[in-house]
């Protein structure tokens, strides 16, 4: 590349390219453009992303999209079949099923994301401590993780909810508390391999301190797979949240929520199947969306494909 050396004495005419700040544009593909390209080349990943975008928009725009108030009862029009004034029919109290489905997406999005966020936060902090410090710190954290592993997700969550009472917050916390162990384990195993890599030794040799090495060198190189796994797990958290409501220990039964809707339709199985099929479909599609998105991210970020 040419380096323009201008004599100090003569004010040479400075072309735009040599001015600091105005860097000559060199056609180079950035890291992110590369990843984006790989992601969008993957059809299933795009489908997953589309599902999530639709879901989030539905949740945000619920008051605009819903044709009726999801809580308003109309006892003159109960158990109406889909079609006519109520596109997806009404339930036993005459509430509009479509509106309830639309509002239900809010609970799904909030609980799904928030509970994974709780799990990720606990898992990343504890996993990083265990992986970097090893020895007794590792032993204590990993045995604690084993204990949380031993509880089935739903059983564990029910215990917490029984202690805390029902509501959105207890559901978020209980699902978070019983999912951190997987993330902690995954991160720990990543850290154990990254910790021995040459650039970590090099950073030490150049005077980087412990916390800098963890923050700048070890975590960024090991956390990707944890975040990808977290994305896939949002779907699982949504299924679990709906299951809790279905079992009657989730959010209040009045609330428009998919698990509650399935629960309400349980008594009409084989008679009024539209009552449980639509919320079930909503759950399946949403979970699928997050799993496809997670897989797409994994493939796009996987350094082995680079």
């Amino acid at each position: 590349m040419t380096e323009l050396v201008t004599g100090t004495g003569e004010p040479a005419p400075a072309p735009a390219a040599t001015q600091p700040g105005a860097e000559p544009s060199v056609a180079r593909v950035s890291q992110w453009a590369d990843i984006r390209h790989r992601f969008f080349a993957n059809k299933l990943a795009v489908v997953g992303l589309a599902i999530i975008v639709v879901l989030v928009l539905t949740a945000l725009l619920a008051p605009v999209l819903a044709p009726y108030d999801p809580l308003k009862q109309d006892l003159t029009a109960t158990l109406q079949a889909p079609g006519g004034k109520h596109l997806l029919g009404t339930d036993a109290l005459g509430r509009d099923q479509l509106s309830r489905l639309i509002y239900g997406s809010r609970i799904a999005v909030v609980v799904g994301l928030a509970s994974i966020l709780v799990a990720l936060t606990i898992g990343i902090v504890l996993g990083a401590l265990a992986g970097y410090f090893g020895r007794w710190v590792d032993t204590v954290i990993m045995r604690a993780a084993d204990i949380f592993f031993a509880f089935p997700l739903l059983i564990g969550s029910i215990v917490i909810i029984l202690l805390m009472g029902r509501g959105v917050l207890p559901v978020v916390l209980s699902l978070g508390i019983f999912q951190w162990a997987t993330f902690a384990r995954l991160l720990r195993s990543q850290i154990l391999s990254v910790r021995e890599m040459d650039f970590v030794h090099a950073a030490r040799a150049l005077g980087a301190g412990r916390s800098r090495i963890i923050r700048k060198h070890i975590l960024p190189n090991s956390v990707t797979s944890v975040l990808v796994y977290g994305t896939s797990n949002v779907g699982i958290a949504i299924v679990a949240e709906a299951s809790l409501s279905y079992l009657g220990v989730g959010v209040d039964p009045e609330v428009a929520e998919w698990g509650n809707m399935i629960s309400a339709g349980r008594g009409f199985m084989g008679v009024k199947d539209f009552m449980w099929t639509y919320p079930s479909l909503a759950i399946v599609i949403t979970a699928l969306g997050f799993i496809l998105l997670g897989n797409g991210l994994r493939d796009a970020l996987d350094p082995k494909l680079r």
């Binding site: 040459d198 650039f199 030794h201 090099a202 040799a205 150049l206 190189n221």
Partner: protein, 348 residues
């Protein structure tokens, strides 16, 4: 200057003490029940502006010694069991860890063999170079980036300004090694340890990188410890050579004298196993046998099972590193050998 008998602990601040002196260093690795004796009494010294080449095959303890100097030995399992390391007259092994850390990067720095794996793949090279200034000198992100560009220019990376935001995998091997050199030089340390800096590079690029390193060393008047197994690399740049075998120094000498007249059978074996243009058609010499198992170093001279000159005393007594004298009995400056029969080797 003969390094072996200077006493830095007593040396005053008049600058007579070497920049770095390693004294009787012992390092062990203890894994379960087995103890690997990687370094068994190493002595060497480097002055400012001087290049010491540490030569030896894999497992000879040359890299472990370097890690002990830098204070980045994996511990456990590694442990310094004996010895002292004086840096600018100060016994650094007695310093607390946070004091040692302040030395690293600022006053002593290290360059590693494989630059691709020694650079963090998720950070741009500009960021990593800038980190040196942000971490040690508290510069802002913008100032650090300007410094990074300056450094990249310094190690002659073309189009530094455009490439400062690129990632390590976007550079060629030689360029990556230049970036590692730039990182090590960033804070203008007094001592640089280069651990096989050119082993992973093409021969032509090797020469460029070595020239750059030698030039920058002269410019900054740094002490340089060049760790290598390649005799060809050191010939042009080193001032003196220490040859290591099984965790010990077996011979030290000014570079050209070592090539001319080795005083240890192992060194001679190494020199004889270099392919030469004027000996076409002959079978290449190889030192017979295998490097010693560091968990069971043979008694006596560690080299005795592979040595053609070995006699009974070699199998029982560990030879000390003694000064080498010329025919007239005067000590040859800077020369020492750890062979019972160095005289025969030197003259024979």
């Amino acid at each position: 200057m003969t390094s072996l008998e200077t006493a830095p602990a007593n040396a005053g601040p008049d600058g007579t003490a070497p920049l770095l002196e390693v004294r009787d260093l012992h390092v062990e690795f203890k894994v379960r029940d087995s103890v690997t004796k990687a370094v068994n009494g190493v002595n060497y010294s480097v002055n400012a502006g001087e290049t010491l080449a540490v030569l030896g095959e894999s497992g000879s303890g040359k890299s472990v010694t370097a890690q002990a100097i830098m204070g980045i030995l994996d511990s456990p399992p590694g442990r310094i069991t004996k010895g002292q390391i004086f840096f600018q007259g100060q016994d650094i092994l007695s310093l607390p860890e946070n004091e040692r850390r302040k030395l690293r990067g600022a006053r002593m720095a290290m360059i590693f063999q494989d630059a691709l794996s020694s650079l963090n793949p998720v950070l741009s090279v500009g960021f990593q170079l800038g980190e040196m200034f942000r971490a040690h000198q508290g510069l802002t992100r913008k100032e650090a980036k300007a410094k990074a560009i300056e450094l990249m220019d310094r190690v002659r990376i073309p189009a530094a300004r455009q490439r400062v935001n690129d990632y390590p995998h976007q550079f060629s091997g030689g360029m990556r090694q230049r970036i590692m050199i730039a990182m090590a030089l960033a804070l203008e340390p007094d001592l640089i340890i280069a651990d096989e800096p050119t082993t992973a590079l093409d021969v032509t690029v090797q020469a460029q990188v070595m020239d750059l390193l030698a030039e920058l060393q002269r410019e900054y008047n740094m002490g340089l410890i060049l760790i290598t197994h390649d005799l060809g690399v050191v010939a042009d740049v080193a001032d003196k050579i220490a040859v290591m075998y099984a965790g010990r120094i077996v011979e030290t000498a000014p570079v050209h004298e070592l090539y001319k007249r080795p005083a240890h059978p192992y060194t001679r074996g190494l020199l004889d196993s270099i392919p030469r243009l004027d000996q076409k058609g002959q079978e290449l010499y190889a030192i017979k046998g295998l490097p010693p198992n560091l968990q069971q170093i043979p008694p006596g001279c560690a080299f005795n099972p592979r040595c053609a000159q070995a006699r009974d005393i070699c199998r029982t007594d560990v030879p000390a590193l003694v000064p080498v004298t010329g025919e007239d009995g005067t000590e040859l400056p800077g020369r020492a050998s750890a062979c019972h029969f160095w005289k025969e080797t030197l003259r024979g």
